[in-house]
Every structure is written in C-alpha cells, then in structure tokens.
C-alpha cells in the first residue's frame, strides 16, 4: 500500500491561494508532491492521490466529457461522495468548461424515495445536462433524472471508457462560474448558490492568509461532506489553492466511528480541522470510556467550529476529555460563514480559544433586543451564553440592521448583513429568492440574527424558519408536505419548527391539527407522523396533536411557524392528551403576538 502524501512540498514554493481560477490552483499544486488521501471506515489508507495525479485524471476525464455533446457552461450533477472519483469529476468540469453541481448523500433508513425526489429537484433546478455518481449510487441517481433534461448518467469509470475528443480544452476562466451548491431550499424549491471563480479565489485567499494563516507545514483532516461549503470550500478547494495535503474520512464513516477522525489527525499530524459543534460532541461521548487515551493531538493548532449555532458547553467537554491527549483548548476557532458568501466571513483570532459573551436574559434581551453583559451576580438561569465568532476578514464587513434596514450600534440584536468579495451573484435561476437576500447595495441579508461586541460577531439565532439538526439543514416545508400526504391530515394542518433545549441543542416539533377523536386513531396518527419524518429526514421529532384551528396564519395566508413555536413554548399550544386534563382548554389560541416577542424570529 502506498504512503500518504507528504505534508510539505520538497521544492515547490508555497503559494497561499493567489490564483485566479481553481484550475490554475490545481495546475500549480500538481507541480509538487502533496495531495489528498482517502481512508476506510476503520481508518486504513485506501487511496493516496497526489495533486499531480488528480490533475491527470481530471484532464483525462475532461477530454472525454467535451466529446459528449455538452455545451460550455452546462451543469453536471455529481453525487459528492468522499472519493477520488468525485474530486476527479469536479475538477474535470473545471478543465472542460462545465459547471459542477455537487449533490448530497442520504443515509436514512428507508429513505430512498425521498432521496430520489430531492436529487430530482436539484437536477431540475440546475438544468443539469449530465449526472455522475459512484457505482453504488449511480442507479439511484439515474432514477432521479427521469423527467429532467439530463442526457446521460454515468460513473467516472464509464466516462473514462468514452473516446477522447479532439476538441481543445478550455478551462473555466476568471469570469466564469465555479460551481453551484444546493444546500438550502426545500425539495420542491431548491436554491442553488452560484459561486464564481472570482468569489472562490477571493474567499480561499482570505481564509488562507487571514483566517488560518496557512503555511507550508499545515495539513488538513476532514470528515465534512463535500456537498456543503465547509467541507467543499474549507477542506477541499482552499487546500488545493494552497497545495495543502488533506486526509479524508467519509462523513458516514465519521458518523459510525467518530474517533477515527482524531486517530487520523494524530497519526498524520493534522494541524487544521473543522467541524460543527456536534462533531466534537460525538467524539467526547464516544471517548468517555477511555477509548482514545493514546492519541497525540498536540499538533492540532486550529480546531475550527462552524456550520450551526456554536454550543460552548459541548466544546468544553471535548477539551476536558482530550486534554490528556495534548489537545489545547486555545486551538478552538469559532467562525461564521455560509454558502452565500462562498464560505467564511469571520474567524476568531487564532490561539484564543472560545470566548463567551454572557448576556442577561429577560425583557431587555427579548423586547428591546439589547444584549447587555450579565454581571457576576446574575445566575446562569437568568443569562444566556453566546460564543463570539470573531471579526470579519479584511475586505469583508458586517452590519447589524433592524427590520427597517437601519444600522444598529454594538450590543443591539438585529439582522446580520454582510459584504465582501466572495458573495454569490445570486441563487441560480431564481431572481425572487436572490432579491430577497441581496439588497442591491452590495449587502447580503444572511437571515441570521446577532449583534456585535468589540467589532466581533455574536450569532444569537435565525430569522428564517430553517431547522438545523446535527449540522444538517432541514427545510420545515419538506416535513410539513410529507406529513400532509397522510390520509388523516389535510394541507395546512401542519407546522414544523425547531426549539432549542437548555443545552442549545435543536429539537424538532411537528404540530398537527387532529380531527381524529378515538385514542387508537390518534395513537396510529402519531406513529405515522413520526415514521414519515424519520424516513424523510432521519430525525426523531416530538409530535403534538393539537385541536383544529390551533395554528395561526399571517394575513397573507402563510403559516406562521414563529407563532406556533411561541405558543408551544408558552404552553398555549398543547397536545390533546395534555389538553384533555384541562377542561378550560378548548383548543383555540389567542391571535399571534407580534413576532418581536421571540428574539430569534421576525415573521
């Protein structure tokens, strides 16, 4: 078996992402010995792929792709398995002038049909003309191409069997698109972020030089999915632009054996690795029995955190669990970003660790939206601890705005708006969704709520209804529509939302207006709802069967999830089982209070 690619190049001078296109970045990296490595679920090396070989394979594939009748700029959907093939096809698109569209994987028990629908929605929205997957998933992908304009579905090997075309290769240039990322939006209305070469190059450069102070002795370790920005941009494309070697563990392998992540870091001297909070949480839980005593994590200088609300307690637990392995809590680097900005916007200062801003709960926070520091005397129950995510990178700016668009001073909670050289041009073929977030003045409304303290960003919640569980984005409409398909449920009877528990974890609640009166029917309905949600999203949810007319709608007839959540949390919206004990409760609910009552919500 081959060895892993080295951390540093022997002779090739290090360049921190100063390239104009991704293809140019790979061309340069291919002149050295570094590259990417893929490991099995148990952590043994399966493939070491130096950037030189990745480039060869990508160009060989590109020469075949240009002969398939696709036109320059056509989209190619690729299931983003953590595999050499995915990277080779992704970069083949770069060299051949096609726009790759990384597609998600799915791992829910019995979730095949929902997965096919999701893929189909993305392929259709992207107007993809070709689709590529590994041998195990190519049939699922082929099923998803029905009723789309996809002309062929193939594996990388099948593409390699095609004849080489005489057409000259013209790589995607500085003014072209780089890829389209579908990480938000519902199944029926997926939203693809169109990232340009210019945006990718700008963000990779800023991440490398300012965010991570990346150098020739750094090595990246990643289990993050390559269909999300943190995995794709942070742990795949930025390393290519900086000739950094990467050790990859498939996300599904990490989910099964999280400690393999840390074993790889220790064994190969990884210095940089990112994860959402739950990744650290999973490791701490799994290592509780002392399974990880022998690891040396002392070289890990950047343990980045992003992707969902950062929960400091879980990080503290991780640091305590692994302090005996040489893990330094100052390596934690909370950060903030999103696909719409390509990836990163802020990084905490390196070597500082997690900084907490503890603010007083209550009227000031919830009604006046003022995040005032909680003094020593304030007990934890009266305060909220938020993680400070750092200042925007040079070239980027953050403003906190109120609902009328006015810029707010420090410690005022409002909508987080960002500006910078890597903002998307828009959602692909979706001017309405684009106009809703890109205001035309060069600023993007992120949909998140937060405030500034000392020029650093604190994220306090979201304005949109998006549910994030275990780092995955789940669109509430998808859950609602799936539940509405049940015989006993009518359209408009369902509201799905997330509530945050005392440990800042999100839990999904599904409220269904119930017309069944017999307990046996109700029990059956509960079971069916939980089953549908599990098949769709692979999550457990709390089912609340409520009396008819419990849900509130806005004047324009839109379901108000914010109101449903507010009523649920205040105990007004209760399950029929709970309500039966209370004769005074007739199932009707006061009209929704103004959304200002709920900090994280605005309509």
């Amino acid at each position: 078996m081959n060895d892993v690619t080295p951390t540093a190049n022997e002779r090739l001078p290090f360049r921190a992402g100063d390239f104009v296109t991704l293809a140019e970045g790979l061309d340069y990296a291919a002149r050295g010995e570094t590259g990417v490595n893929f490991f099995s679920t148990r952590g043994s090396l399966e493939t070491a792929l130096p950037y030189s070989e990745l480039r060869e394979r990508a160009i060989a594939l590109a020469r075949r792709l240009v002969g398939t009748g696709l036109r320059r700029g056509d989209r190619i959907g690729i299931i983003a398995e953590t595999s050499p093939d995915f990277l080779a096809v992704f970069f083949a698109c770069q060299y051949a002038g096609f726009v790759p569209v990384p597609l998600p994987l799915s791992i829910n028990f019995g979730g095949r049909d929902a997965y096919v629908e999701r893929l189909r929605g993305m392929l259709a929205a992207a107007g993809a003309r070709a689709a590529v997957a590994g041998p195990e998933l190519v049939q699922v992908l082929a099923a998803a191409t029905e009723a789309t304009i996809v002309r062929f579905t193939a594996t990388a090997d099948e593409l390699m069997a095609l004849p080489v075309s005489d057409e000259p290769l013209e790589a995607l240039g500085a003014d072209d698109a780089c890829y389209i990322q579908y990480s938000s939006g519902s199944t029926s209305f997926p939203r693809g972020v169109l990232v340009t070469q210019r945006a990718l190059a700008a963000n990779a450069r800023a991440i490398a030089t300012h965010g991570l102070e990346l150098g020739p002795t750094d090595r990246c370790t990643s289990w993050l999915p390559l269909y999300h920005d943190m995995g794709l941009v942070g742990c795949c494309l930025t390393p290519v632009m900086c000739q950094t070697s990467v050790d990859y563990l498939a996300t599904t392998a990490f989910a099964r054996r999280p400690l393999v992540w840390l074993q790889l870091l220790a064994r190969y001297g990884g210095t940089i690795s990112f994860a959402p909070t739950f990744g650290y949480e999973l490791c701490a839980r799994r290592a509780a029995n002392g399974a990880a005593r022998d690891l040396d994590l002392s070289r890990w200088r950047i343990a980045g955190i992003g992707g969902e609300m950062i929960r400091s307690r879980a990080l503290t637990a991780f640091a305590e669990t692994f302090s005996g392995c040489g893990f330094d809590a100052r390596a934690f680097v909370p950060s903030y970003g999103m696909a719409e900005a390509t990836l990163a916007v802020t990084f905490s200062p390196l070597a500082r660790g997690v900084r907490i801003d503890r603010v007083a709960r209550g009227e000031t926070l919830e009604r006046e939206r003022l995040a005032l520091p909680a003094g020593e005397a304030v007990p934890p129950s009266q305060s909220r601890s938020f993680v400070v995510c750092g200042a925007p990178m040079p070239g980027y700016a953050i403003e906190i705005r109120d609902d009328a668009g006015r810029v707010l001073p420090e410690r005022h909670v409002g909508r987080i708006c960002i500006q910078g050289p890597s903002l998307m041009e828009g959602y692909f073929r979706n001017p309405e969704a684009t106009a809703a977030v890109l205001k035309g003045d060069g600023w993007l409304d992120t949909g998140d709520m937060g405030y500034l303290v000392g020029g650093e960003l604190v994220v306090s919640g979201r304005t949109k209804d998006l549910i994030i569980v275990g780092g995955r984005n789940i669109w509430p409409q998808d859950i609602e529509w799936a539940v509405e398909k049940l015989d006993a449920v009518r359209a408009g009877d369902v509201a799905a939302f997330a509530v945050t528990d005392s440990l800042d974890r999100e839990r999904v609640v599904v409220v269904v207006e119930c017309r069944q009166t017999r307990p046996a029917e109700q029990a059956e309905l509960r079971h069916e709802i939980a089953a549908v949600v599990n098949r769709l999203a692979g999550i457990e949810c709390e089912v609340v069967l409520a009396a008819p007319r419990s849900l509130t709608f806005t004047t324009s007839g839109k379901l108000s999830r914010a109101a449903a959540r507010d009523h649920y949390q205040r105990g007004v919206l209760r399950d029929l089982d709970a309500g039966a004990a209370d004769e005074a409760f007739d199932g009707s609910v006061e009209p929704a209070e103004p959304a200002v009552a709920v900090l994280a919500e605005a309509s």
Partner: protein, 80 residues
C-alpha cells in the same frame, strides 16, 4: 435467514428499543423504533463490529426493517 444472525441482531436491537416494543423481522427501524440518523450509525457500527463485516452506506437508504438488516448482514458475511 439463519437463526443465529437474526438472534444476534435482535440482541443488539434491544438498546435501540427503549420502549420495549415486541421486535420481529418486519419491525421498521425508522418508523417503529424511531431510530434517528445518528443512532442508525451506531447500530450499523455495532453490527459491523459484531460480525466483522462492512455494510456499504448506500444500502442504508434501502433498509426498512430488521429483516432487511439481517439479510444484508448475511449477504456481507457470505461475501466476506
């Protein structure tokens, strides 16, 4: 379906069945036992370790019942 694999998997399943529901080959993993995607990975890992097999992840979306799981484990064992 051999008794042995079935019994071993049934034994592993107990931890994922806090409500003590009766388990049969046709019990649905997601729908009946409410196993979420994180717990699903734990279960897959336990089965892999128990039988020293690798379960391809792409097959998980096709798994609905305990019986499916047993059949898959048996298939991998025969290949192994």
């Amino acid at each position: 379906m051999t008794e042995n694999v079935l019994n071993e998997i049934m034994a592993l399943m107990q931890r994922y069945n806090p409500d003590g529901k009766p388990l049969e080959a046709k019990t649905e993993l997601g729908a009946d036992l409410n196993i979420d995607s994180v717990a699903a990975m734990d279960l897959i890992m336990e089965i892999e370790d128990k039988f020293d097999i690798d379960i391809p992840m792409n097959q998980v979306a096709e798994l609905k019942t305990i019986g499916d799981l047993v059949a898959l484990a048996e298939g991998q064992l025969q290949q192994g």
